[in-house]
């Protein structure tokens, strides 16, 4: 009854139309870049921004791929993201375990110290970070970018995992500890398996933010061979920004991986984001 009334409700219908219009505006930029990416240059001049391409100019993608050196930068991005995310989650989950399952002095203070890190803009530390990595001889090096990435990711992950671990009943691990299990056993056999949903959400979120990261990469990865995708996209815009069709092809290729990840794992994005923001 209520459902049928709602269906007929003119307010809801009006709302729906308004929402669809806004959604079209929201999706429009993606449509425009895709249209442009498939046009030839004369086609672009002739049809402008709206028109459909008359032929599909796939060569824009191959040219942009070469010019943006995407074989190298995509590989760099992938290696960095696939190393950083599991490593970061591993050290964060260990620390979150200690923060929720052990008692020690300065526990609360230590947590607040970590929590503080979720809120400080990274730009505050860029200069000294560059010097530090330079002095360690790790500029333009995977390790040189992985360590700062982990350092700036740890606070957020500890924050969320701590909240999640707190909700796992203590009886489970107390019983195991009584039976002589070590903390490492409890961490590995009880806490981690039960925290799989949180870990999965964090994995996806962290993967995307690592893939997208720009300011730290900008100061640490200065040589072209070491660039990640955002750096090569920015450089492409500077160098070949007037080749609009190729530039849009480069944009499409740069954002496609995260969009696919997003489509596949949509629910994790929302749950991860909400867990991080709302739960203390």
């Amino acid at each position: 009854m209520i459902a049928r009334l709602r269906k007929a409700d003119p307010v809801i219908v009006g709302l729906w139309i308004a929402l669809v219009l806004v959604a079209i505006i929201w999706a429009a930029p993606f449509v425009f870049i895709t249209l442009t990416a498939f046009k030839t240059r004369p086609d672009l001049i002739r049809t402008g921004s709206f028109g459909l391409p008359t032929t599909l100019a796939w060569e824009n993608f191959t040219t942009a791929w070469d010019r943006a050196n995407l074989s190298t930068t995509a590989l760099n991005s992938a290696i960095i993201a696939f190393t950083k995310v599991p490593l970061g989650l591993f050290v964060s989950s260990l620390a979150a375990y200690a923060l929720t399952r052990m008692r020690f002095r300065w526990q609360k203070a230590l947590f607040l110290l970590f929590a503080l890190g979720t809120m400080i803009p990274v730009q505050v530390a860029l200069g000294p970070l560059f010097r530090l990595v330079l002095n360690l001889g790790l500029l333009n090096n995977y390790i040189g970018i992985l360590l700062p990435y982990i350092a700036f990711g740890v606070p957020y992950q500890i924050f969320i995992l701590r909240g999640f671990f707190q909700n796992i009943p203590r009886e489970l691990d107390e019983a195991a500890l009584m039976d002589g299990a070590s903390h490492l056993d409890v961490y590995r056999r009880i806490i981690l398996p039960l925290a799989t949903p949180a870990l999965a959400a964090l994995f996806i979120l962290d993967f995307v933010s690592t893939w997208n990261e720009f300011p730290m990469a900008l100061v640490i990865l200065q040589r072209q061979e070491a660039w990640t995708i955002p750096l090569s996209l920015q450089a492409f815009q500077g160098q070949f920004g007037n080749n609009y069709t190729e530039m849009n092809a480069a944009i499409v290729m740069a954002i496609l991986p995260v969009i696919i990840v997003y489509m596949l794992f949509q629910r994790y994005f929302v749950s991860g984001l909400v867990a991080g923001a709302v739960k203390g």
Binding site: L113, A151, V270
Partner: protein, 310 residues
């Protein structure tokens, strides 16, 4: 029987004693990896930035001179761009609290209704938030293109030639043009947070208010908005923090130009340190950014830790 129980008890007591003796060290292997990396690559650079803000240094040479608060005096009194950056950062914070937050809340309120296709609609509004800011900048840079860009092209085809602008080239409007891209990018985040908050509003409360004769507006104001208090605090703090971090979008669209008209603190600190090789000034600006952030963050942290222990 009794004897064997006694042995077990003694054994377990021994083990407990061992536990107490080792207790101080047991958390170490768990904490150390995260703590060491965090301390060396996040905390130390921040402390180091404070120290370097008291030196005159180009960031490269071996020699550096202690100059006390000279860098601060310099940025406060002799650097007009610093004040542009302060002004723009504050404008950005103010507008972010107003626009994407409102858009996000309206979207959340609408999408909290049982509406056809709401999952897909939510996905569309959140999509810009997951792509790289640099890509957002490039996309909007293209749409703002004075000749071929879609915005001027549509204005032209609508016959509104007088509304055609050099969106990113005109110092009067460039900042706001970039901000529009930010609205596109960040409204979805606010929407998701508000949606989560709205799901926490108990249905019975709304029903009870309705039974008591409240109209829709009263229910909205006194029940829904009242229940969202916590969500509002979270959204406001996150919005402010994220506004102060804005960097990629501006680098990607204007690099702070034209004529430094789109400089913000985060970017001006970077430009001073890496572009103009004045680490001292760059770090002093970073400290101003840090101070503004801490003024907002510390009360929030105190609030969350109190809420959490309730």
């Amino acid at each position: 029987m009794q004897q064997s129980l006694d042995t077990i008890n003694t054994k377990s007591r021994q083990r407990n004693n061992e536990h107490i003796g080792l207790r101080r060290f047991i958390p170490m292997p768990f904490l150390l990896p995260a703590l060491v990396i965090y301390a060396v690559f996040a905390l130390y650079p921040m402390v180091n930035a404070l120290e370097l803000s008291f030196y005159d240094w180009d960031g490269v040479s071996v020699e550096r001179n202690f100059v006390g608060v000279q860098n601060y005096i310099q940025i406060f009194t002799q650097d007009p761009v610093f004040w542009t950056a302060v002004k723009n950062s504050l404008i950005w914070v103010f507008l972010s609290l107003l626009v994407p937050t409102m858009v996000g809340m309206l979207l959340a309120l609408a999408l909290n209704q049982r509406i056809f296709g709401r999952t897909s609609l939510r996905a569309i509004f959140y999509l810009p938030a997951i792509i790289a800011s640099i890509a957002v900048a490039t996309i909007w840079g293209w749409m703002y293109n004075p000749i071929l860009g879609v915005i001027n092209a549509s204005l032209k085809s609508l016959g509104m030639n007088s509304a055609i602008q050099d969106w990113l080239g005109d110092p009067k409007i460039a900042l706001y043009s970039i901000f529009v891209a930010y609205v596109w990018q960040s409204s979805g985040v606010a929407m998701v947070l508000f949606l989560a908050g709205l799901q926490g509003v108990p249905e019975e409360l709304k029903e009870a208010a309705r039974v008591d004769g409240a109209n829709n507006w009263q229910i909205f104001w006194h029940v829904i908005i009242a229940c969202l208090r916590e969500t509002f605090i979270v959204v406001i703090v996150l919005t402010i923090i994220n506004s102060l971090k804005v960097f990629d979008l501006i680098v990607g669209m204007t690099s702070g130009g034209p004529g430094q008209s789109t400089q913000v603190l985060a970017l001006w600190s970077y430009t001073q340190s890496f572009g103009l090789h004045d680490f001292g000034n760059g770090m002093a600006i970073a400290m101003v950014l840090l101070a503004i952030t801490l003024i907002i963050v510390i009360p929030y942290l105190i609030w969350t830790s109190r809420e959490g222990s309730k």
